[in-house]
């Protein structure tokens, strides 16, 4: 593993007073790709949102460390400044807020690397979206490509991508994959939630670790070939049982 950049230690994660995940531990190295898998409503979005600091998700015990710094109690936007960014599964729409305006602001705030952002924009085909209202009236593919762009363009230490491939066409999946590759190449660590076999096949050669979440527990963290084929063959429950962490 490269230098550890993100560590979640013994985290109990709550949403609106209810515990959703217990005693989560995970560790991500610099420039690594981690996949988070699990059935619907198993807590994948909860995990990513709590790490990112999105309310009402909260880590009540345990901690979140970013590059050695305890950021458990940092507000959302400060975590972004520290280099931890979440890509929403379903970002909200904004009327009157232009994509170009957001990009201008990001450039000013984060001193973006122009050659990286230009390549990223090219890959994700962002230019034609610049004059549009943020996410308003956009297709599934446009929304996901844009959200991926907004997340990766600041070249964070860790990007948390929550199902960037759901509900999009194959061309957009390919573009998002290329964007992830470019980010990894630049040392960005990526934690990716996905359900799609297509995406899973594509990211196999890039993946360092797969985390399996089942019924409120992170039941297993291991190599791609230890987890994914088993899930495809036996389903999530079967895989959780077979990996000996669920009975």
């Amino acid at each position: 593993m490269g230098n550890e950049v993100l560590r979640v230690e013994d985290a109990d994660i709550y949403v609106a007073g209810k515990r959703i995940l217990r005693k989560v531990n995970l560790s991500v190295g610099a420039g690594e790709l981690h996949i988070v898998m699990g059935p619907n409503a198993s807590g994948k979005t909860t995990l990513l949102s709590a790490i990112a600091g999105v309310e009402p998700y909260e880590v009540r015990s345990g901690k979140v460390m970013l590059a050695g710094e305890d950021i458990t109690n940092y507000p959302l936007h400060e975590r972004v400044e520290k280099g931890l960014v979440l890509a929403y599964q379903n970002p909200p729409s904004f009327k009157g807020v232009k994509v170009s305006e957001i990009l201008k602001w990001l450039r000013r705030k984060f001193d973006l690397d122009p050659s990286f952002t230009e390549s990223l924009a090219e890959i994700l085909d962002i230019h034609k979206l610049l004059g549009r209202d943020l996410f308003s009236g956009m297709s599934g593919g446009e929304r996901k490509r844009l959200e991926t762009y907004l997340t990766l363009s600041i070249m964070p230490k860790v990007a948390l991508l929550d199902e960037p491939d759901s509900g999009v066409d194959l061309d957009s999946v390919g573009r998002i994959l290329e964007a992830i590759k470019l980010a990894l190449k630049h040392g960005v660590s990526v934690v990716l939630v996905t359900h799609s076999t297509h995406m899973l096949n594509l990211v196999r050669p890039l993946t360092n670790t797969v985390h399996l979440i089942f019924k409120g527990h992170l039941v297993f963290s291991g190599l791609y070939d230890e987890v994914v084929p088993l899930v495809i063959k036996r389903g999530f429950e079967g895989a959780a049982k077979a990996l000996g962490r669920w009975s």
Partner: protein, 410 residues
């Protein structure tokens, strides 16, 4: 010289309240005698710079303004020579009524002096202060004509009568800024405005208001748009007021059209009762009324809009949106569609809400602070697509939008 009959009617209307907005005791304000002043006298006054600066009007704009009124003093027309040569006039209404037949012909034909006590007061005591702008047939004045109506003295009544006449086939863009020096000053502003848009002519009128906590503001505006003409109005207020009540009325002839935009940003304990009304009097006419209303602190915003479909085919649409930025603020939208012709297609949409938590959180997840996120959302809410606005006017509008959103953290 006042018309005898009108004066008599006006006198009878001196205690006639307006149908909307709080009633105001006008007797406590001083009415001063109009006088002409020199440019240097205006530009050197700190209070003038304060008042015009709050409108986002640079000293350069004030210097170039076609008409500047400071309290009772006025400076008419620094219009460029080329415009004068084309027959464009900008002068005080009093002077126009003395010199020009067209002014005498049209004055007080759209708004009756006995409309209410505010108009009656302006008619009887205003001495025809205010501006008169005339653009002759076929002349297209694309550079904006700026007018500044400023109050710098407390307890003053500024009573104005403005007339714009854009003749057949002509075009004009007028930007009017109304402001007061000092954020707490008490004053009264009554602006009676009559606008005439000729056949195939176009008038774009942007009005920006920056008043004070003690300001009582009662604009009265009526517009007549002849066949194939177009009138675009863009109204913005982004300051505290004591109370503001205005309900401009536009009457559209055959194939005439109008777009009426208003951006209201209420604050303090101010009452903002602002509306727009359009009457589709000619077949083929169309109107859209679009308003964005913000309310914070303890302000009360009433956004009225009315479209009357008198003839058909015709089309009208009202879009009235409100954003409440505090628990103690109030917004009411009152859209009214009144159809008297089966061929008139009239629609409206209205919504009032608060800033969405999901939007705030999303922007913060991209690094915006809460304040920055709020400002961006407010700016988005206020940014109305108004394709008719000339670039220079749009600059003024954008500057004010920026000011509103930056202080709209509620």
């Amino acid at each position: 010289m006042l018309n005898k009959n009108m004066a008599e009617a006006a006198r009878k209307a001196l205690s006639k309240p307006a149908p909307y907005g709080p009633d105001v005791d006008l007797s406590k304000y001083d009415v001063l005698n109009p006088r002409r002043i020199e440019p240097t006298e205006i530009l050197e006054q700190e209070r003038v710079r304060d008042a015009s600066g709050r409108l986002g009007f640079t000293p350069e704009i004030v210097r170039k303004a076609g008409y500047v009124q400071v309290d009772e003093a006025y400076l008419a027309s620094a219009l460029v020579e080329s415009l004068r040569k084309q027959g464009v006039f900008v002068m005080s209404t009093a002077e126009a009524l003395r010199k020009l037949d067209i002014a005498r012909e049209v004055a007080w034909t759209l708004i009756r002096p006995d409309t209410d006590k505010y108009v009656a007061t302006a008619y009887l005591y205003g001495k025809e202060q205010g501006y008169f702008i005339y653009v002759p047939p076929g002349v297209k004045v694309r550079t904006p004509i700026y007018t500044c109506l400023l109050i710098t003295r407390g307890m003053t009544a500024q009573l104005l009568h403005n007339i714009i006449y854009v003749a057949d086939g002509a075009e004009a863009n007028v930007v009017t800024g109304c402001s007061i020096a000092g954020l707490h000053a008490e004053a009264l502003h009554i602006g009676v405005s009559e606008f005439f848009v000729g056949k195939g002519a176009k008038l774009t009128f942007a009005m920006i208001h920056a008043w004070s906590k003690g300001a009582v503001v009662r604009p009265r505006t009526a517009v007549r748009v002849a066949e194939g003409g177009r009138y675009v109005s863009y109204y913005m207020i982004y300051s505290a007021v004591h109370s503001l009540q205005s309900y401009p009325k536009v009457t559209l002839g055959r194939n005439a059209s109008t777009s009426l935009y208003s951006i209201i940003s209420g604050e303090g304990e101010g009452i903002y009762d602002v509306g727009s009304s359009a009457t589709l009097a000619g077949p083929g006419s169309s109107a859209e009324i679009i308003s964005r209303n913000l309310a914070k602190d303890k302000s009360r915003v009433v956004a009225r809009a009315e479209i009357v479909g008198e003839s058909g085919p015709s089309k009208g649409h009202i879009e009235c949106m409100g954003l409440i930025l505090s628990d103690t603020a109030y917004i009411s939208t009152v859209p009214l569609l009144d159809s008297r012709n089966p061929e008139a297609t009239l629609t409206h949409e209205a919504a009032i809400g608060k800033i969405g938590e999901d939007q705030l959180t999303y922007l913060m997840s991209k690094g915006f602070s809460e304040e920055e996120a709020r400002a961006l959302i407010i700016r988005g809410f206020l940014s109305v697509e108004a394709p008719d606005l000339p670039p220079q006017v749009k600059l003024s509008v954008d500057r004010v939008t920026e000011l509103i959103s930056s202080k709209g953290h509620g």
